[in-house]
């Protein structure tokens, strides 16, 4: 096995290591999730300082170590620095990064996950209004779940497989079961976690589309927050994780 190797990766997490190094968790296209040491990255004037920042995409030259690999060279390809200028954007980006950290595999190519995640960050970064961030973010959660093969069932009952048609009457009448894996017919024996309106169900179904239809984009902020809560509960249950960033979502979007 070669002692050095090249990879293109995005920094998902960083923490101090020793006096002046940084320990990075990087999602690479070629090798999936890798934990690498950025030597001297915390030293004043270090060339790795900026390149080891959160959400920076680098072309990396890495060397294999006994326990951890080390960065020999890094060349920045793209950065998402402007995500930091807005608490809502940073929270959404870190929320998505938490899901990626959980679902990414090590020692395996993760080209699709890398491309989806960087695309989501680009979209989050370019949104100007706070209300425009939520649809991109909620669709992002869905896209990551779908990529992992965990997308919730939204057209047929997760238990009986019958087509679910929302009742004509307004109100929250579509039962959703996190444990069963999606929407369920009223009356089936499954623990119901949420009740959705027909409009919210329509929006959830539209999340699979490449571009959200205009009527879905017009959904209220509260409706998007409901969808986020549904997908959050679903993600936490099926990926067996706790999303730390979720605690700040309500605060960011209720300002």
């Amino acid at each position: 096995m070669a002692k050095t190797y090249r990879a293109t990766g995005i920094n998902l997490k960083g923490m101090p290591l020793g006096e002046k190094d940084k320990l990075l968790t990087v999602l690479t296209k070629e090798y999936g999730l890798v934990r690498v040491v950025a030597p001297g990255a915390r030293k004043y004037g270090s060339q790795l300082g900026g390149r080891s920042e959160l959400f920076v995409v680098n072309d990396l030259l890495l060397t294999r170590g006994r326990t951890l690999d080390r960065i020999v060279q890094a060349e920045m390809q793209e950065s998402f620095l402007r995500l930091g200028q807005n608490l809502g954007k940073l929270t959404c980006a870190q929320y998505l990064a938490e899901i990626v950290l959980k679902q990414a595999l090590a020692n395996q190519p993760q080209v699709e996950l890398f491309c989806v995640f960087t695309d989501l960050l680009q979209q989050l970064q370019k949104q100007e209004r706070l209300t425009a961030i939520l649809p991109v973010f909620v669709q992002g959660i869905y896209r990551l779940l779908a990529l992992a093969g965990f997308a919730p069932q939204l057209y047929r009952c997760a238990i009986s497989q019958e087509v679910v048609v929302p009742a004509a009457a307004p109100g929250r009448n579509v039962p959703f079961s996190v444990v069963a894996g999606g929407v369920v017919k009223p009356g089936v024996s499954a623990p119901i976690s949420h009740y959705l309106t027909a409009q919210e169900l329509g929006a959830l179904q539209a999340l699979a589309a490449k571009e959200l239809p205009p009527e879905v984009l017009l959904l209220s902020r509260d409706a998007w927050l409901v969808l986020e809560r549904v997908l959050r509960a679903y993600t936490q249950y099926h990926l067996e994780m706790h999303l730390q960033s979720a605690a700040l979502i309500e605060r960011c979007f209720h300002l």
Binding site: G18, L87, S245
Partner: protein, 197 residues
């Protein structure tokens, strides 16, 4: 391999930042070789520090008294507050001997991934200090990381309506070389360019 008290000491030393198993063993054996008085003094210093040092009620900096020396000092400029994320940053700025205002220590930066939001930081007391009046300028001296940037913008937005808010410049270090600067630093240096006086 080690006798139980020595193993316990090595285990405790290993918990310190930057101390690995080898360093912990070296330190433990060194401490064993020192006279009893020296080791007792070290143990007392650690305990005294833990028991006596707290945070200043005004600025959040480390202090033995309820109000720290910097906040009590009448010679310091009350109208300028420099906001930093950690007490270590106060020490670094004090070493410059150029800043004569007061400080405010936030106690960290906003990091949603680590569950640290604005409520977990020392922000409300800063807002109170500024709202009370008499503050002409707040200087935000928070590390230029993505999370530091969010904290800077968040705090700046809160305080902007009450006083002038500035932030420290960042870019090429003195004695540095453009050729070797990373792209992020160069972007920031160009964004923060100044007209020649």
């Amino acid at each position: 391999m080690y006798t139980p008290p020595l193993a316990r000491l090595i285990e405790q030393l290993q918990r310190l930042p930057g101390i690995g198993p080898k360093s912990a063993q070296r330190l433990a054996l060194y401490l064993l070789s020192r006279p009893r008085e020296e080791v007792t003094a070290l143990a007392h210093a650690i305990l005294d520090c833990k028991e006596q040092v707290g945070h200043c009620q005004v600025c959040g900096y480390l202090s033995v008294d309820p109000i720290c020396e910097i906040c009590r000092n009448p010679d310091r400029d009350d109208s300028t507050i420099c906001v930093v994320c950690d007490s270590r940053d106060v020490i670094a700025l004090e070493k410059t001997r150029e800043y004569w205002g007061k400080y405010h220590v936030l106690g960290g930066v906003i990091s949603p991934m680590q569950g640290i939001g604005p409520d977990q930081l020392n922000i409300p007391t800063l807002v109170q200090r500024v709202v009370k009046g008499g503050v002409k300028e707040v200087i935000l001296a928070i590390n230029p990381t993505v999370e530091g940037e969010t904290t800077t913008f968040y705090v700046g937005k809160l305080l902007k309506e009450f006083t002038k808010v500035t932030r420290i410049a960042f870019g090429i270090p003195i004695g540095g070389d453009l050729e070797y600067a990373d792209e992020m630093t160069l972007i920031k240096a160009i964004e923060g360019r100044q007209e020649l006086q």
